[in-house]
Symmetry: C2
Subunit: 158 residues, 2 copies
DNA sequence: GCGACTCACTTCATATTTTGAAGTGAGTCT
DNA sequence: AGACTCACTTCAAAATATGAAGTGAGTCGC
């Protein structure tokens, strides 16, 4: 199965992975959440080659995750902005950050520090149950697949 | 900059992306969170080629995200299990799922349904502030970079 | 009005990765 | 004995990524 066949998958994780689950797409998203908007900034701060950056931005634009807009006619200048769809990928980047801060950082002081505007405290957002509000992890839930998803996986068994 | 240079990055997001931010690694993780443990199951249910699956599992094992263990001497049989480190990647997969459920699913019934064991309710975990417990998103936080991280990004500017 | 510079890319040759089909080897099952 | 399962490995072809160099519109300083 080729990577792009994932878009046909019933599983929404698979389809999301197909859209943004590439190294440089994730790096571009990180960088945009840190505030970069311009091509050159993205290129230097992510370390991505201009060729690939250009390809990735086109894809992210086609997927309506980023928007390309002109902010000056003369000289002609553009910038890339996250759409609502794009901003909604924030938890993915935060989840990656949390894992890295916990398991890869040796200094104890994470390279990116977040402050919650509303409460003014330094925060490290984590997953909570939407029903009861308690923290949740892999072990605190049970999984149920929709019939369609179960069939999809069964079909792959042939 | 090549993909593997990301591991030298100060940013823990970059380093995490380098470790697990590949299409098939993420698919393997999804599948393991759904309960698959055996090579063949992973292969068929993710759709990954056996060659690549083998490579990815070796990498995930080297990174101590999964553990390979024998569950039968004769016949010789192995299974792969998530370590604690691996289980801690759950929020990444959930964040991908949430995004996909919101933006890609047209049916309204997500293919994977989670139930919180403690409260018995169907749940869709989301990010909450670790300090005050309120829900947080991209717009509700301010970002501060550590001096090292700021330097790292500045250096890339040369 | 010339040369240097910035931004936002594109082009191209080379290198690396992925894909998919086929094969392997230990062992069980009938 | 033959078919089958599991857990892979091998290999060639195809797809993708990398990195250096180039482009073109425009500005800035002298």
């Amino acid at each position: 199965m080729s990577r792009s066949d994932l878009s046909q998958n019933v599983c929404t994780v698979a389809r999301t992975v197909e859209m943004v689950g590439e190294t440089w797409s994730l790096m571009i998203l990180r960088e945009m959440f840190l505030g970069s908007r311009r091509f050159d900034d993205l290129q230097r701060r992510t370390g991505c080659s201009p060729h690939l950056l250009s390809q990735r931005l086109k894809r992210l634009e086609a997927e309506q995750i980023v928007e390309r807009r002109s902010y000056s006619e003369r000289p002609p200048r553009h910038e890339y902005r996250l759409t609502e769809r794009g901003r909604d990928l924030w938890p993915v980047v935060i989840a990656l950050k949390n894992w890295g801060d916990r398991w890869l950082d040796k200094t104890g002081a994470p390279p990116i520090e977040l402050t919650h505007k509303a409460c003014g405290q330094i925060t490290r957002p984590s997953m909570h149950c939407s029903a009861c509000g308690e923290p949740v992890d892999a072990r605190s839930v049970t999984v149920r697949l929709s019939p369609k998803m179960a069939r999809d996986r069964a079909t792959a068994d042939r």
